[in-house]
């Protein structure tokens, strides 16, 4: 029984082609998020947040656009008082203390980026803020009142 070189090569070529295809498909992975709820524009910039201050309760998609020039994150928390507890350094909000009240958050995004954040808003007061070092203190927070 002799090894057929040409057949072996053919099998090898097929394997390589399959691997290449898989690689390319993985490269352009599909983003499965479908928008739901009302789209609400939220714009961030150094160092302010422009967002609606009154909304009805429900599902919302916050379309967050960062106008720079630096990176920003967005955290949405319920806050009955409107004042947020600070960490010991006096420069950042204590997210740990607000953990149970958080409605949603986005990690820091590059200037120019537009990202969606889906939130379920129930009636009450919310604060939208950026908790990068000093950003909250420099004015990046906005109050939102959700009515029933």
């Amino acid at each position: 029984m002799r090894f057929d070189v040409a057949n072996g090569l053919r099998v090898l070529v097929c394997l390589w082609a399959a691997a290449l295809l898989a690689f390319l498909l993985a490269g352009c992975g599909a983003d499965g998020s479908s928008s739901a709820g009302t789209v609400v524009p939220v714009s961030e910039a150094d160092f302010q947040i422009n967002a609606p201050t009154n909304l009805r309760a429900g599902e919302y998609t916050l379309r967050v656009s960062n106008h720079g020039p630096t990176e920003h994150e967005l955290i949405v928390v319920r806050s009955s008082s409107g004042r947020l507890p600070m960490r010991g350094d006096g420069l950042t909000v204590s997210e740990e203390a607000l953990d149970s009240q958080e409605a949603g958050s986005l990690e820091p995004g590059r200037p120019g980026a537009v990202r969606d954040l889906r939130v379920h808003l129930t009636p009450g007061r919310y604060v939208l803020f950026c908790n990068m070092e000093g950003h909250y203190m420099a004015g990046m927070h906005s109050e939102l009142v959700v009515s029933a």
Binding site: L9, D46, F47, G68, T70, E133, G134, M137, A138
Partner: protein, 715 residues
């Protein structure tokens, strides 16, 4: 690149192969160049970015340090916030617009930066520079105890309501944060470009690999087609191909394996030598070592155990990198060699046969023929005892006529042709041993001991003339080519001896007397000599017509001639076949009667006289004849014999004619004193003629009734 899909041109595809190989190398080269170029580009950019990242990261430390130093100085401690502020400001400027970033005391060296590229990065560094400016202004205001609320907020920070120290800390945090973010984005872009590099490299690698696989498979296909083509060629050839090197056999063609009945793998190394004839192994070793001789023969055992003759041609390819050995192309020539041997033997035989036939052709007489035969026996074998036994003219006796002079004659005791087995059978006979039950009786009890024998009959026109007899060692009879030559010799010798004898007989008949049809005197003399030499008993008679002169004179010469013819005719009819009658001259005749003595001859002659008396047809006058008789017992020479017979004739004439008288040898030996005339005895060279002259011519002495001793009657 060309694809040979239609026609197969195994000898023309080298160019196509070269094209494929070049394409493979070009692909590898291009991919390597692109890959290296990309890597260099990405990593050199990356090196530059590393210093930028380092300086950007340093800003955070410096901002924190600045806040601490401001607070320390406010408490009255030793610190230099102004220096830290200047380093930060210079670093921020360098990060944005390029230039020297100053060293930090006791920390690191200064470094030169390129201007920031890309609007996002430039915006970040510009923002940082603004924040550093705001921070430094706030720090100075704190140290100077000035209010901070009115200070500019150039980076759009909303910090007017904060107390000075808090404001300073927030600004330091913002400045260091933006600096870190810029450094992180730089790192991220590095990662991105490295990711891109990896992607491109992978794509290049995969693409190149695929392309090379395609090319290589094409190359393989072509090569495979070629090798298949040559393999088919090699397989279809019955030539045996072997590659030898110092370690033995390195390759054998399938034909070799098929011949010796082993798998090809089982013949490598020293295993092939097992099939090569022991005597030929050194030769093949020498060929393997030196490539010489270029052409030679050797023997190899095939699967059936037979030795085959191989004719081989060696090609020295030890210098060829692809072979590094000596290539043998061999061919089985066994059948051809055998045929050649047969042909050579045939040619030898033919050569012997043609030489023999030439020699025999030149031999006119039997003695010469026998001499040729004797020489031929030497040519057949120098050591084999060989003899030719021939029958005499009576075909009753066999005697040795020739023998191999270089060996003792075998000495076959056979006496008669009919006692010889070979002669009786008419074919060659071989006796392995004289001691065997079925051996020829003539072989037994030879003086030389037990022997083998080959006997070939010699014959002419189906009549046996004799036998060629050879002996050999007991159990080892002559065989092979010598026997073939012996057969040739027997055939040709028989033909020649027969021809010579027939010729002599013809000559005998040709030399006859025109008038009577009888043989002449010379023939009679020869026959007499031979008989005497052979020591056979015979009688000789001299006959003379009575009163022949008178007949001639009275009735004329024609009547005389008729009388002579009548006598010859009558005598011939009366005599036996092997009796001889010759006209001696004039009215004299000589009659030779083999196997009869002189007294028996008298009876024969009386019958002749009687037949003559009753046979006298018409015109011929009646006449008689007188006879003188002698026999071989009376004398040793023909001359004496004739003299004795002549004496008898003389006596018959004297006694009254028409009678036969036996000659008296004593009278002749006494020099014929009584009969011969004293005046007639002159010594002469020819004894026979002299003897005849020694007495008076019979016809004169008798016919004329008055003998004239000195007269010579010549007709």
């Amino acid at each position: 690149m060309r694809l040979h899909l239609g026609t197969r041109r195994p000898f023309g595809s080298a160019a196509s192969n070269r094209g494929t190989i070049i394409a493979i190398f070009v692909t590898i080269g291009l991919i390597s160049i692109v890959s290296i170029w990309l890597s260099v580009k990405v990593t050199s950019g990356s090196e530059h970015r590393a210093t930028t990242i380092e300086v950007a990261s340093r800003q955070r430390t410096l901002a924190e340090r600045y806040v601490k130093e401001v607070l320390l100085v406010r408490e009255g401690r030793q610190a230099d916030p102004a220096y830290t502020a200047s380093v930060m400001a210079a670093s921020a400027a360098a990060l944005l617009e390029g230039g020297a970033a100053p060293p930090v005391n006791g920390d690191d060296d200064g470094t030169t930066l390129k201007p920031a590229e890309g609007s996002a990065l430039r915006n970040e560094f510009a923002q940082e520079a603004r924040l550093v400016g705001d921070m430094t202004a706030t720090g100075e205001a704190v140290l100077a105890n000035r209010p901070t609320s009115g200070l500019p907020q150039s980076a759009n920070e909303h910090i007017g309501n904060l107390d000075p120290v808090q404001r300073l800390r927030v600004l330091a945090a913002l400045a260091s944060n933006v600096s870190l973010v810029a450094a992180r984005s730089l790192t991220r872009s590095d990662e991105a470009s490295i990711h891109d590099l990896i992607t491109v490299q992978v794509l290049l690698g995969v693409g190149g690999l695929l392309m090379m696989i395609v090319l290589a498979s094409m190359l393989l296909a072509t090569t495979r087609r070629q090798s298949a083509h040559f393999r088919s060629l090699a397989l279809s050839s019955r030539d045996l191909v072997v590659v030898l090197d110092q370690s033995g056999c390195r390759y054998v063609s399938r034909s070799v394996a098929a011949m010796v009945g082993r798998a090809e793998d089982d013949l490598f190394g020293n295993h092939l030598a097992e099939f090569i004839h022991e005597q030929d192994r050194p030769l093949l070793a020498s060929v393997a070592a030196t490539g010489k001789p270029a052409e030679f023969n050797f023997r190899m055992r095939n699967g059936a155990g037979e030795w085959r003759d191989l004719e081989a041609r060696a090609t020295d390819l030890r210098a060829d990198r692809n072979l590094r050995g000596v290539v043998l192309h061999a061919r089985d020539t066994t059948d051809r060699v055998q045929l050649e041997r047969q042909l050579t033997a045939q040619l030898d035989r033919d050569g012997f046969a043609s030489h023999l036939s030439e020699a025999l052709e030149m031999a006119d007489e039997e003695d010469e023929v026998l001499d040729v035969i004797q020489r031929a026996t030497v040519e057949i074998s120098q050591v084999t005892p060989m003899e030719l036994l021939l029958s005499d003219s009576s075909r009753a006796n066999l005697s040795r006529a020739a023998s191999n002079p270089s060996a003792e004659p075998p000495g076959c005791p056979v006496k008669s042709p009919f006692s010889c087995v070979a002669v009786r059978r008419g074919t060659a006979v071989v006796f392995d041993s004289s001691e065997a039950l079925n051996a020829c009786p003539q072989l037994r009890d030879r003086a030389s001991g037990p022997c083998s024998a080959v006997c070939v009959p010699v014959s002419f026109m189906g009549r046996a003339l004799g036998v060629l007899h050879t002996t050999g060692p007991d159990g080892e009879p002559l065989s092979g080519e010598p026997v073939n030559q012996l057969t040739v010799l027997a055939g040709q010798a028989g033909a020649r001896i027969g021809t010579v004898r027939a010729f002599e007989k013809t000559q005998l008949q040709a030399s006859t007397d025109g008038l009577t049809g009888l043989v002449n005197r010379r023939t009679a003399e020869k026959e007499l000599r031979e008989l005497l030499k052979a020591r056979h008993l015979f009688a000789v008679v001299i006959a003379d017509l009575d009163k022949f002169k008178q007949l001639n004179d009275t009735h004329g010469h024609e009547a005389g001639d008729r009388a002579l013819r009548l006598f010859a005719q009558t005598a011939k009819q009366t005599l036996r076949d092997n009796d001889l009658i010759a006209r001696w001259g004039g009215e004299e005749f000589v009659i030779v009667l083999p196997e009869l003595d002189r007294f028996q001859a008298v009876n024969v002659l009386d019958r002749v006289r009687h037949d003559l008396a009753v046979a006298h047809p018409g015109e011929t006058a009646r006449f008689t004849a007188s006879f003188g008789i002698a026999d071989s017992g009376q004398a040793d020479t023909v001359e004496e014999l004739l003299n004795i017979a002549d004496g008898g004739l003389y006596a018959a004439k004297q006694a009254g004619r028409d009678r036969a008288v036996v000659g008296d040898e004593s009278a002749v030996k006494k020099d014929t004193p009584a009969d011969s005339a004293p005046e007639t005895s002159p010594p002469e060279e020819e004894p026979i003629v002299m003897a005849r002259k020694a007495r008076p011519p019979i016809h004169e002495a008798a016919d004329e009734e008055e003998p004239r001793p000195s007269g010579v009657q010549i007709r």
